[in-house]
Symmetry: C2
Subunit: 453 residues, 2 copies
C-alpha cells in the first residue's frame, strides 16, 4: 500500500491530506504535527486575544474526528528531525521517544515561524510573537490574568494592526512600532496613512520609521528601545515583525531552497525530489503578474497549494494558477484590502505604472448608511493593463469582496478598461449602476488615455 506522509497539521497540511484522500480512497495517509492543534485557524488569534472569540477551541477549521474518520492518521507532538531520502523514512521525536516513519510520498507543510528582532528576552511570558495556537492561548491568559495596563506592538503589518485593535478592545494602552514609514507596508503610503489615522483615532500611539533595537526586562515591566525612543516601559510586548519560511528540515533533506529562503516548487507543488511535494508558508509561490516565484505567506494560498500538493501526491492532476497577493485586514471600523502590485512593486518589476485614486460611495448616497471607499488602481500606462488595487473603507462596506473583483482582474491579466464591461449587480442599498470598482477603473482609464469607454 502506498503511504503518504504530510509534515504539518495546519492549513496546507490538512488540505493536502484531505485532497489525497479524495483522489485515492486506499492511500495510507498520515499527518505529523509538532504541537497538539490539528487544523486550527491561526488567522483567528487576534480575535482570541481581543475576547471576540471566547475560547481557542472555537478556532478549529474542522474537528479532528472529521479528519481521522476519513482514515487519515494524525500524530500530534511529533517533530521530524531528519528526512532520509535513500531509505524513504523520517526520523521523529515524540513523547513516546524516537521513531522512524517510512513514506512513499511526502508533503512538506512546515509553515513559517516568526521573524524575531535580535534582542528579545527568552521565555518571558510578557513578550512573545503571535504565531502559534500556543502563542495565542498564552497571550489570552496573560491579558486576562495580568490585566496589562500598556503594551508595545512591534511590527506594523497586518498582524501588528490586528493585535493593536485586539489589545485596545481589552482596555490596554498600545504603542505600535513599525520600521516602515507608514503602517501596512504591503499597501501604498496613502492607504497606510488612512489605516494609521484609524489606529490613532482609537487611541493607538503609532511610531512609524522606528526600528526596535531591544526589549529588556526591567523589574515588573519591559523596556523598549527603538531608533528614537529610549526605555519606553510597558507591561506587554507583542512581536509581530513578520514571518520566515520554516524550511531547515527541507534544506537538510536536500530540497532546493530559493533566494527567499523558502522551498522551491513547480506549479504542481513538486519539489526537486521525485515524490516530495511542498505547500503553504514554507514554499515560494508563483506570482501570476510577476511570472516568477515570490514569498507570499497567506492562508488562502496555503489552502490552495495544500490541495494541489495532496491531489498530485495521490496521483491526481492539479496545477496552481498563481497568486496575486490578495489580502484584507480589519482594523477597528476599517477594512483595507489590496491585490496585485503596488505602484512601487510594479515600477521595480519594470512596468511603466501609474496610480489613480478615487473616493466613491459604497452604495447610492440617497439610501441610508452610504460610506465612502477610497480606491487606488495601479495600471500599466503603455498597455493599459490592470496591475493592482487597494481599497480602504468601512469594514461593512464591501471592501473585501470588491478587492476580490480586482484580484480576478489582476490574476487574469485584464486591461483596466475591461472592468467597465463587468456585468455587476446593482440595487441602491448595496451598490451603484457603476460599482465603485468601475468608477475607479473609469478614472484610471480617463486619466491615462483621453478617449475610451
Amino acid at each position: 500500500m502506498t503511504r503518504l506522509v504530510v509534515i504539518g497539521g495546519s492549513d496546507a497540511g490538512v488540505e493536502a491530506a484531505l485532497a489525497a484522500r479524495r483522489v485515492d480512497a486506499h492511500l495510507e495517509i498520515e499527518i505529523l504535527l509538532e504541537d497538539r492543534y490539528l487544523n486550527y485557524s491561526i488567522c483567528g488569534l487576534p480575535y482570541l486575544v481581543s475576547g471576540e472569540v471566547p475560547g481557542w477551541q472555537r478556532l478549529a477549521h474542522r474537528s479532528s474526528d472529521e479528519i481521522e474518520s476519513l482514515g487519515i492518521q494524525v500524530r500530534r507532538e511529533h517533530r521530524v528531525t531528519d528526512v532520509d531520502l535513500d531509505s524513504r523514512a523520517l526520523e521523529v521525536d515524540s513523547p513516546d521517544g524516537r521513531a522512524s516513519i517510512p513514506f512513499d510520498r511526502l508533503v512538506f507543510a512546515t509553515g513559517a515561524g516568526p521573524s524575531l528582532p535580535a534582542a528579545i528576552p527568552k521565555d518571558d511570558p510578557a513578550t512573545r510573537p503571535i504565531h502559534t495556537i500556543d502563542d495565542g492561548i498564552a497571550m489570552r491568559r496573560y491579558v486576562e490574568s495580568r490585566r496589562p495596563h500598556d503594551a508595545a506592538v512591534i511590527g506594523s503589518g497586518y498582524i501588528g494592526v490586528e493585535m493593536a485593535d485586539a489589545l485596545v478592545r481589552q482596555g490596554v494602552d498600545v504603542t505600535m512600532f513599525g520600521r516602515a514609514p507608514t503602517v501596512l507596508p504591503t499597501f501604498s503610503a496613502d492607504s497606510g496613512a488612512l489605516v494609521e489615522a484609524e489606529l490613532r483615532e482609537n487611541g493607538v500611539a503609532v511610531m512609524t520609521g522606528e526600528a526596535v533595537g531591544a526589549v529588556r526586562r526591567n523589574g515588573t515591566r519591559l523596556s523598549i528601545t527603538s531608533s528614537t525612543v529610549r526605555n519606553l516601559d510597558v507591561d506587554l510586548a507583542v512581536i509581530a515583525t513578520g514571518v520566515r519560511p520554516t524550511a531547515e528540515l527541507a534544506r537538510q533533506a536536500g530540497l532546493e531552497i530559493g533566494s527567499t529562503g523558502a522551498v522551491v516548487v513547480d506549479r504542481e507543488m513538486r519539489t526537486n525530489v521525485s515524490g516530495i511535494f511542498a505547500a503553504g508558508d514554507c514554499v515560494e509561490t508563483y506570482h501570476a503578474i510577476l511570472e516568477r516565484p515570490a514569498y507570499l505567506p497567506l492562508g488562502t494560498t496555503a489552502h490552495k497549494q495544500g490541495r494541489i500538493a495532496g491531489t498530485n501526491a495521490a496521483g491526481g492532476a492539479a496545477r496552481f494558477a498563481g497568486s496575486v497577493g490578495t489580502q484584507v485586514v480589519k482594523v477597528f471600523d476599517l477594512a483595507a484590502g489590496r491585490t496585485g502590485l503596488s505602484e512601487a512593486e510594479a515600477l521595480a518589476a519594470g512596468f511603466p505604472a501609474a496610480t489613480v485614486r478615487v473616493v466613491a460611495p459604497d452604495h447610492k448616497p440617497y439610501y441610508p448608511g452610504s460610506r465612502d471607499l477610497e480606491i487606488a488602481i495601479v495600471g500599466d500606462i503603455e498597455t493599459g493593463r490592470f496591475l493592482g488595487a487597494e481599497i480602504v473603507g468601512d469594514w461593512r462596506a464591501g471592501v473585501a469582496k470588491r478587492i476580490d473583483l480586482f484580484a480576478v482582474a489582476a490574476q487574469h491579466g485584464w486591461a483596466t478598461r475591461e472592468l467597465l464591461d463587468a456585468d455587476l449587480s446593482y440595487t441602491p442599498p448595496l451598490g451603484s449602476p457603476w460599482d465603485p470598482v468601475q468608477v475607479a477603473a473609469d478614472a484610471w482609464v480617463r486619466s491615462t488615455r483621453p478617449v475610451t469607454v
Copy 2:
C-alpha cells in the same frame, strides 16, 4: 457642426450624451425628455415610498447643472411624435407647441413602460404602476396623505418585492399577487421560496400562481379579482407586473424591431439605420452566454449601453461585452442575487445543466455575526462550464459583491472549477480561506465529477 440628439433623459440617454461629449468637445448635443426629471434613479422609487429616502430630489444621479455645464442642451417635456429619416428631423410636441428638431446622429434611449394587466381603472390615484419619477412622487404622496390600511402588490418580480417591503415599512398590510409559482421568477423556485418566507415573516400575504384578472373601484376601496380570489378589497394597488420596451417611435421610424418587441442593435449599439443608435431598456441586449439577443432591462446595462452608443455616435469606438443578467434585490433583511442562466434557462438553451446548492457561512463562524448564505450553482455537466449562480442571505453578508464574482465567471466563460483558483481576500471577520463562492464551486465540481481540485 454635427448635431447629436438623444431621445430620453434617464440612465442610457444621459450616459450617451456624456460619453459623446468626452469623445468630441465640439459636438452639438441635445437631450429631449418627456418628463421633467433629467437623470433620476428610478431604481430608488421603492425607497422613496418606504420613507427611507426623504425626498424625490435626492434621487438625482447628477444635477442638471453638471450635465448642462458640459454644453449639453436639455429640453424637458419634449415628446417626439415622429422621426423623419429623409430630412433627418424630429417632430416634437412641447409646452411651447410643435417644433421640428434636426439631427445628424440620433440615440434612442426611450426606455420601457409598465406592462399593465388588462383591467385597471384609469387615472385612479389609488392604483398605478411604479415606473416613473411621477409615479413614485404620487405614490409617496398617496401613502403619506391617505395612510392606506392595506394594499395589493400585483407582480412578484423584484419591483414587486421591493414595493411590498416599502409598504410594510409604512405600516400597510400587504397582499402580493404573483402569476409565477414562486416569487422572483427570474430566480429558481428554491431561491424564490427563501424570499417568499422572508416576505411572510414580515407580514406580507403572498399569493403565488395567482393571475390578477381585474382591479375595480368599489366606493372608497379597490376590489381585486384573481384566479382564486374574488373581491379582495384594499385601499391601494401597486402594479408591478414588469415592463415592455418603449419602441413604437422607433418602429414608426423604420428601425428594426426584434421578436421581444425591442429595438435591434449590434454590439456597437447601432440600429439598422446609419447614424441611429439605441441603448437601454428599449433595445435587445446581447447575452454573453446565450450568444444572442435577449430582453434584459436593467439599470446597469442601460448605463453601459448608453455610454457605448454615445461614444460611437460621436465617432469613438466601443463595443458592448454582453450581459449575463446579473441582478440583486434587497427584501427586508435578505438580499437575493443571481447571474447567468437558471437551470431552466440553461436546459431550454440546450445546455446539459445541473444545479448544486450549498449553505456556507459568510465569514468564519468563530468571529461574531456570521450568517449563512444559500448558494446555487448551475453548470454544464459535460464541459464543466459555469453557467450561473444565485445567492440568498442576509443583506449585510456580502451577497451582492459575491454574485459579482460569479458574474465575471459567467461573462468570461469560466469552468466552474476555475473559481477555485481565484486568489480572493480573507480575514476571519469578512470571509473564509475558501470563500463561500468557492465552497459552492467545489461542491458543484465534486458532485458532477469525482476527482478534481
